[in-house]
């Protein structure tokens, strides 16, 4: 069929894709009508609350909830023991999720859930928590990644390490990863200069404004419903069904609107507890985390300790590069150090390269994904060393990166050979931008850094229903965290040749559409978009078939052009073209409803690259940093809705500014988190920031019909490095520990002056 010929991306004349229509969820969000996780209620609903460990590491000798259960108004109490029946059937990863949601024999971090109650009011629930008696045996704890690796460090788990870890390491070292190619010793021997440095970064939280919230209702027959704020309701369904010993079909999960996720809502915390409480109480249970609970008990990203060594010729050619990355991922295996080790040198074409990653556990909350998990810290270390080499050789940092940039055909440090990629194009765009040559004043510095992210496709299912009035209902299964409903409407409208506002996209519940992977890996505009386009093409095939029937000709003799079914040529006969609306209006008489479907495990996401440029000013007397100017250059493949692409660029840069300058988990000697709130966990506020300028570069991804590459994650990869390079220039001292808070900068300046 003509529909199946490959799209020529360079000449495709988009009508709707590339425009900036209003988002369909916009009015609801600005008027307050949109319903988020905590906005759903049910008759007879109870309040669920969690009792959390005040200790960083403690054996739970006993839990006595009798007094709490006897308190009038308390309808259910659950503890680790309530999940005992399912534990044996779970694989290691799922068991970790369970133990993180509800401690079993040990509390592993300050804030770890040890019990939960359901009661008729907040007040009763709060009183009930105070009546639960937990007998703890406090154990020594460890928080820092390097300290946790020491052979004499307190051990969290006796048997969490796998065979990749060589003998002689602390049991807190649970995985070792290695990537690379060539001979680094030979490469370093060819270098004119070698720089080797150690860097540290602190744990940063995703900082979504909406705390976790859900409403669970389970009936006596075991059928359950869950309304929840999440990036992936199919994941929630499958995980909760496993942890509660239910069939997936018995649990219907609906995703609410979401007030930010950034990767942090790709797992469960309170959802299995709400279901367990509802099962026990026989009534709906609503649970809402406080901000303090979000900080103490949901996943920030890893803190890290990284050694990077790079050799360079005086002309700026990298001859060898190596890195040793140590990430603590909280109390369970699974820090993103593997991604860190894979991505560290992925932006460059390096002949001799090797990275080793160490996954380490410590007495902190289980890390959760955070936008390009593991990559920003690795890029910070690598791009800082490249910057230092450029300074030592007095070479232009942009030209050096261009000279070493990965291009089509480059075999990456993690083994993949790239297809068409856009790193060089982002560097060229940066060079051409006025920012690159703007003048700098005293105590000001400019930083440049590049970043890479893999991007992901994954399991995706879409249904597209053509309504009899000529409108279209599109059901996707990927929660909209960045304007994706608008983008889906645009792609469907583009294919079908109808207006943008004739398409409405909804995020369907788990019972209404087949499985969809979580909204992560920058995958939605790519994968749900690809599935939407294919579903639209499926619908078009059916529309052509209906037109054929209306005209009494063969299906093969009908083509679809610009929103109309037309006879394929003179031989097909002479008929007036039929619009989607005209065909839909009589669908009842031509075979019934018309719908298109796609089920796909999408491949070919297309790697993404960015270059960031930032100017900052340092007050040398106080160490305070002001970001003066910031420009993002990133390859989007094809920007479906440019405003939301720009929004992703800006958001990544701003979260990176927070991580680089002030955001960090601060613990006391007792292992308790000192800053579980937005007052002392300092995300940037609007007045801290300049307008983040953006340049969308479009090097089409051959893996997508329109050329889309995911854009959501790459934008947080370069900022730590770009800002550190900028601040290091402004303060005239290399900053090797993030965040670069005023006291840390003052200290670095003083130490440099003392040298």
């Amino acid at each position: 069929m003509p529909l199946d010929h490959p799209q020529d991306l360079t000449i495709k004349d988009f009508k709707i894709v590339g425009q900036r229509p209003l988002r369909p969820d916009g009015i609801d969000k600005v008027t307050g009508r949109a319903r988020f996780g905590a906005d759903m209620n049910a008759p007879g609903m109870l309040v669920g609350r969690v009792l959390r460990s005040p200790h960083a590491h403690a054996r739970i000798k006993s839990i006595d909830s009798a007094k709490a259960e006897a308190l009038p108004g308390v309808k259910a109490v659950v503890t680790g023991a309530d999940f005992g029946a399912v534990k044996d059937g779970l694989d290691d990863g799922m068991l970790d999720v369970l133990v993180n949601c509800m401690a079993q024999d040990k509390a592993l971090y300050d804030g770890h859930a040890v019990a939960a109650v359901a009661a008729i009011s907040q007040t009763v629930a709060r009183q009930a928590l105070k009546l639960i008696e937990v007998d703890y045996e406090v154990l020594p704890h460890v928080l820092d990644v390097d300290a946790a690796m020491q052979p004499d460090a307190p051990v969290l788990h006796e048997e969490a390490a796998d065979e990749s870890v060589p003998a002689g390491f602390s049991k807190n070292v649970v995985r070792r990863y290695e990537f690379g190619h060539g001979d680094v010793a030979k490469g370093f021997a060819e270098a004119d200069r070698i720089v080797e440095r150690r860097f540290k970064t602190e744990a940063a939280h995703q900082g979504y404004i909406e705390p976790h919230a859900c409403l669970a209702a389970m009936g006596p027959d075991g059928q359950a419903e869950l309304w929840v704020c999440t990036q992936g309701h199919y994941m929630v369904r499958n995980t909760c069904a496993a942890l509660l010993g239910m069939d997936a079909s018995q649990l219907r999960v609906t995703a609410s609107e979401i007030g930010g996720g950034f990767g942090g809502k790709t797992t469960v915390f309170i959802e299995p507890l709400a279901l367990a409480l509802s099962r026990k109480a026989g009534r709906p249970v609503k649970m809402t985390m406080s901000r303090e609970e979000v900080f103490r008990a949901t996943g920030p990203t890893s803190s890290s300790s990284i050694d990077v060594k790079i050799g360079m010729t005086r002309e700026g050619r990298i001859t060898a590069a190596s890195g040793e990355l140590r990430y603590q991922g909280g109390a369970f295996p699974g820090s993103p150090v593997e991604f860190g080790a894979m991505s560290a040198f992925a932006a460059y074409d390096v002949e001799n390269v090797k990275t080793v990653g160490w996954d380490v556990v410590a007495n902190r909350p289980k890390q959760a994904a955070y936008r390009a998990p593991g990559a920003p810290m690795a890029a910070y270390a690598v791009e800082s060393v490249i910057d230092e080499l450029c300074k030592q050789f007095d070479l232009d940092p942009l030209s050096v990166r261009l000279k070493n940039a990965a291009v089509e055909g480059t075999t990456s440090s993690f083994g993949v050979t790239y297809g068409k990629i856009g790193l060089s194009a982002t560097l060229e765009a940066a060079r051409a931008h006025p920012h690159y040559s703007a003048a700098l004043g005293p105590n000001q510095g400019r930083g440049l850094a590049c970043g890479f992210w893999f991007n992901f496709g994954g399991e995706t299912c879409v249904s597209l229903n053509v309504n009899a009035d000529g409108t279209v209902g599109l059901s996707v299964g990927t929660p909209d965290i960045g304007g994706s409903r608008a983008s889906m409407c645009q792609m469907a409208a583009e294919e079908l040749g109808i207006a943008y506002d004739k398409v409405r996209t909804v995020v369907a519940d788990t019972a209404s559409l087949g499985y969809n992977d979580v909204t992560d890996g920058s995958r939605v505009t790519f994968a749900s978009g690809l599935a939407t386009i294919q579903a639209a093409r499926d619908a078009i095939r059916k529309l052509c078939g209906r037109a054929a029937r209306m005209w009494g000709i063969d299906e093969d003799a009908v083509i679809w052009e610009e929103g109309y079914a037309k006879p394929a040529g003179g031989n097909a006969g002479s008929f007036e073209p039929l619009s989607l609306a005209e065909i839909a209006a009589v669908s009842a008489r031509t075979g019934g409803p018309i719908a298109g479907h796609t089920e796909v495990n999408a491949d070919g996401a297309g790697q993404s690259f960015a270059t960031h440029l930032v100017d900052s000013e340092v007050d040398p007397e106080t160490g305070k940093v002001k970001i003066l100017r910031y420009t993002v250059f990133q390859d989007a493949g094809k920007a479906i809705h440019p405003s939301y692409v720009e929004g992703q660029f800006q958001g990544g840069a701003v979260q990176g500014i927070g991580w680089a300058l002030n955001e960090e988990y601060i613990y006391g000697e007792d292992g308790r988190l000192q800053n579980p709130g937005f007052l002392d966990y300092r995300v940037p506020v609007a007045s801290d920031l300049p307008m983040i300028d953006t340049v969308i570069v479009e090097v089409p991804n051959p893996g997508h019909p329109y050329g889309v590459r995911g854009v959501g994650e790459t934008s947080i990869v370069p900022p730590l490095a770009a800002i550190a390079n900028s601040v290091s220039a402004a303060a005239a001292v290399r900053m090797t520990h993030l965040p670069m808070s005023p006291p840390r900068i003052r200290k670095a300046i003083e130490e440099a002056a003392g040298r």
Partner: protein, 287 residues
Amino acid sequence: MRYEAPRKLKRAVALLSAESGVARVLAGGTDLLVQLRSERIEPDLILDIKRIESMHAIAAERGGYRIGAAVSCAALGEHAGVKQLWPGVVEAATLIGSTQVQGRATMAGNLCNASPAADAAPALIAAGATVAIAGPGGRREVPAEAICLAPGRNALEKGEIVESLYLPARPERSGDAYLRLIPRSEMDIAVVSAGVSLSLDAAGRCSAARVALGAVAPRPLRVEAAAAALIGSDLDEAVLAVLAAACAAACDPIDDKRGTVEYRTEVAGVLAKRAAVIAQTRAGGAA
């Protein structure tokens, strides 16, 4: 938990005196509501003073201004007279929280919350402000530096309530300034802060000065040695260095999530120097 909103000060004092449990006064509520919601406090009585009309007045008095305890920071920030006489105090008022928070927050409440890092404290102490306190035993007036005793603990006795703040008159050629170090640009708490108030003689030399520091000790500090360094000088580099050293010597800070001992001690002097120069300029002297 009871909520009371009397219309008369006398009634407010009576309610506070009669309460056997924990009582908290609600002015702007920008600290109190946060503490309530985070479950740090569970008071038995919340006494709202916003219905007491006299608490909302800013009145000229003896060449200075009397500011009711319920006057919001935003209202203070828009008062031309106070702004002209005590720009540094108003500067502090309009740094608390954010624009929205300032619509509720009060200087008196900020002082009574008794945080060593309160923005109100160094500016009011430098200004030589006094605080009028009403109580079962009548009315008393104390210097602003007497209010905060320790973190979270103020000098009010049972049944007492702050009625107003008084900013005194000042001679010609006077100026004041308040500076704080926060890692962000707003919505933050001072890591270190400094308030300086000074007067110049006809020759431009400093004839009187008061210096105060915040967040460098368990309570806001008035640093007399730092003020003494300024008096009689024209604030040259050497004098400012002595001022900074005197400030550093007065510091008794802690290491915490907001800063280190070393950092606070050093930056206290930096901010005091800068505030002194701004105050000098405002007084009409050479910068």
